[in-house]
């Protein structure tokens, strides 16, 4: 785990739709058994959209929530920003309970601490690109000069210089989402929510936008909650990811944890097609040196196993993986890589 401080924590959050959801959460002092309660809710004509969601997001981390449509992931991210009022639970932003914030405090938080990108862009049709990006600043009542300068800066950041005077409908989908990204970053929020930002785009553009997103994140180091139903996207972008099914988070972990140790058959089936060699990084398999000599060949912790294969073929038996910061390097043996390769083989023949 990274040692970075927790930015956002979500504890036992429920969202229930129905006639009287509050009825199920009004008593205190006993422990709720999530599966039993969800079952009871469903049998009593209530829809538990989010079931007992608990997770933490560290500062600067990309936390991906993945699930099929209807699994509750979009509702969950809306609970985090209180666009949807959770039925029960706690959401801690820098240790403060967001659910206790008053309307005014919530508006202040949204004005300064959070940004959000939407699947269908959510651009205001009557404003130009410049007007859209400057909109959050205008709402805060900042002077026109300042907000325009900031908006131009943001537009340049996403590579849309020269389109400031255009209107949203004159732009392609990919360009519109760049505007959405620029707008969500205009107030310089630390917490960045992206709700299926690239799902409405063509595959090729989607790929470009993912690269763009990673480039921006390397520069900006935001704390990110990223929602997607696209498994390849999730594994490509995530530092850690949560898999949701029917409102419940079934597994949380680093991509390698999830492909190597799926929590249940559902996750196993779900991740069956992910190529292990590409998902698993050198750092995931490295073990401590335990006193043995540091191997000559060295490899970055973030390199995928796939990249190592040519070097393995040329006879390298072990790599050293530099530790984080000043920590001691770790050891990655060829045997560990080959074990993964073998596992991939058996997976392929089975399916």
């Amino acid at each position: 785990m990274t040692a970075a401080p927790i930015k956002l924590a979500c504890r036992n959050v429920w969202k229930v739709y129905g006639r009287r959801p509050a009825y199920y959460f009004d008593s205190r002092g006993y422990i709720i058994e999530p599966d039993a309660l969800a079952e009871r809710l469903r049998s009593e004509a209530h829809l538990p959209a989010v079931v007992d969601a608990t997770f933490e997001v560290a500062t600067g981390e990309i936390f991906v929530i993945m699930g099929l449509s209807g699994s509750g992931k979009s509702t969950l991210v809306r609970c985090l920003s209180r666009l949807v009022e959770p039925s029960a639970g706690e959401i801690l932003l820098d240790g403060q309970d967001l659910l206790k914030a008053t309307g005014k405090e919530l508006i202040e938080l949204r004005r300064h601490a959070m940004g959000m990108v939407f699947q269908n862009f959510g651009l205001l049709p009557h404003l130009t690109i410049l007007g859209n990006v400057a909109f959050p600043l205008k709402i805060q009542g900042r002077p026109e000069k300042e907000r325009e300068a900031r908006a131009r800066e943001m537009i340049a950041l996403v590579g849309l210089e020269g389109r400031e005077a255009s209107f949203p409908h004159q732009l392609s989908g990919g360009q519109q989402q760049r505007v959405g990204i620029a707008r969500s970053l205009a107030v310089g929020p630390e917490l960045w929510f992206l709700d299926e930002p690239f799902s409405a785009l063509d595959p090729l553009i989607r790929r470009q936008m993912q690269d763009e997103f990673l480039r921006l994140q390397r520069m900006l180091k935001k704390t990110i909650v990223f929602i997607t139903h696209d498994m390849a996207e999730a594994f490509r972008l995530a530092d850690r990811l949560a898999i949701m099914r029917a409102g419940k988070i079934v597994q949380i972990g680093r991509p390698a944890d999830i492909v190597l140790n799926p929590a249940d058959d559902y996750v196993a089936q779900f991740t069956e097609d992910m190529p292990l060699l590409r998902v698993i990084k050198a750092g995931d398999l490295a073990t401590s040196l335990n006193g043995s000599a540091v191997p000559e060949e060295s490899v970055a912790a973030g390199a995928s196993l796939e990249e190592l294969i040519p070097r393995l073929a040329s006879g390298v038996r072990a790599f050293s993986v530099p530790g984080e910061g000043a920590g001691p390097p770790a050891l990655l043996t060829a045997g560990a890589v080959l074990a993964v390769l073998e596992r991939e083989q058996t997976r392929r023949t089975r399916s």
């Binding site: 666009l83 959000m116 939407f118 651009l123 205001l124 707008r183 107030v187």
Partner: protein
Amino acid sequence: MTAPAASFRSSPRVAIEPALLPWCALIALTALCLVLKTDFPWLVTFPKEWTLPLAAGVNAVTDAVVTVVQPAFRALSAALEAPMRGARLVLVWLPWPAVMLAVAALALKSSGIRLAVFALLALTYILLAGYWPQSMSTLSLVLLAVPISTVLGFALGVLGHTRPGLRPVLLGALDLMQTVPAFAYLIPLLLLFGFGPVVGLIASAIYATPPMVRNTLLGLDRVPSDISEAGLMSGCTRRQQFWHVEVPTALPQILVGFNQTTMAALSMVIVAAIIGGFEDIGWEVLSSMRKAEFGQSILSGLVIALLAILIDRLTIGFAKARPAGPTAAMTWMTDRRLAIVLALAAALAIAIRLLWPNETLLPATGLRMQVGGINQWLLGLVRDCAWFFDGLRDGVLYCLLLPLRIGISGAAVPAIWGFTLSPTANATYAVAVLLACALLLHRFNWRPALALLVAGTLLYTGFLGFPWPVFILGIALLAFQVAGLRLALFAVAGFLLILVNGLWGALVQSLYLCTLAVLLCLVIGGALGVWAAYSERVSRILKPVCDALQTMPQFVFLIPALMFFKVGEFTALIAIMLYAIVPPIRYVEHGLRHVRADVVEAVEQMGATPVQTLFQAKLPLALPVVMLGLNQTIMAALSMLAIAALVGTRDLGQAVYVALGKADAGMGLIAGLSIAFLAILADRLIQAAVAGRATT
């Protein structure tokens, strides 16, 4: 085969469905009633002794209320009188060159050079025809009614959006405001506000408010969730969210509402001219129609038509962005330039009035002064073609209107058809209808067979000869099976109210007139719609015609109908059809053109002929859209009923009109509510039928 097409040929095996049983009972009852009707005439005509003096009661209550609240309303009337006179004075004072300049500039800004040219030509015509002051009077009423309706409608729409609990009440009120004929609420308004054009203004404002409310609601409801969430996440306060996010996003829809409101106000201002006293263009048409001066009524009717088209295009141009982007002229006319031109127009007006204070500047002899010749020519034309128009009228009258009204049994007398039906002919008719029913039962299911049986019986007895208990029970049963108990109770309550007020005869007259108009509109309009769906050229020709027909104030349709067919029920039928034919054309074409292409391809790939594709795939798939068109047609026909009363009918519309003449608020309200009841009942029935089809 696709599912909807397949359901057309459901199982040939006929099992008695539970839904069919009450209908069987009803058929037995009908037969019983028809047999007994000579012995018990009350089965067919509701006896006068059974009516309740409800109208008198309403009158007593209104009189009492009016005497109490009248001073307040008279004061309001006086308060409105001043701005109204003022607006009229200003518009009449404005010299025509200044008005033309301003309107042309606005048209240029709204939709480019073509509309500007049209505006100039239309205004020139109004000037030359000699109706300038009257048109300005009409415009001044519209200019006052529109802001009232717009502000009120917007506020009510916002209320309905933010308080969903109020919405059912609001929508119900809107339905009433739009379906009760304006003549009906002119009466209490007259009592409250006293005689005068203020009543016309207020009636227009009431009538013109609903479209604004509906479009505001629709626009606000349709703000995409992504956009409103983006606003919230930007940290908008509630007020910011409303004014900076929701209203601007909904603005195009709200502007469509503004357009519809303006057109409704214009239409009602012209109808309200019937009260008189404002020398507006509606009054000109009405008085020349009453004097049978067709030349003048056509000249002034054309003024109304041109004004309507001009105002419509002007407002819609601001509401909707052109798909091809703004034209060069539109981009040239920036806000700044528009302001300059408008200021120039104002300066021009002042300069002209200062330089020539005593000149009217209007052409001394307008076309209307020379219409004697036109009148002669038109009368000659009508006389020369009389054989055609009279033949058409008599043909429809004797073959369609009379049989529907008094039935084949009533029409087949020497005085009308020149022969009587022998018992064999009666028997043949009965056997033919029953055979056709059996055929439908065998090929489809019991529903079309039942419909045919009802139609056959109605055609034999006529609407007037049909026993009312069966009629009410039948409609209630239909409402129950289509939409549930509440609508059935609503239907029974409404019909009973009409019965006890002694309006059953008028109701039946309305029903048969509307039924015939709607059927003819469906057949003719549907055929045109199908043609337009298949032929680009026909579509291109029909579109402007439909546009023009739909923009016209209802009043205008009376002119040609009256000119060619004189006073009578057939004239009313033609006027109603002219107004109600647009929806079937539009909706059938739209429905057919937007049938899912993959389904049509699949059917064609199976080797269906074009006719098969049309009847087996396209029309069934387009049915929900066509049903919406049917709904609109019925609404249009019912709303035209009150106007058509001016050319002589014997229906509910006439009851309202007569009540207006006698200032009988009770009868006017009850007859007006009866029309509204019919409209709402038809609307709910069709909506339930469409929804039922969608869910099964």
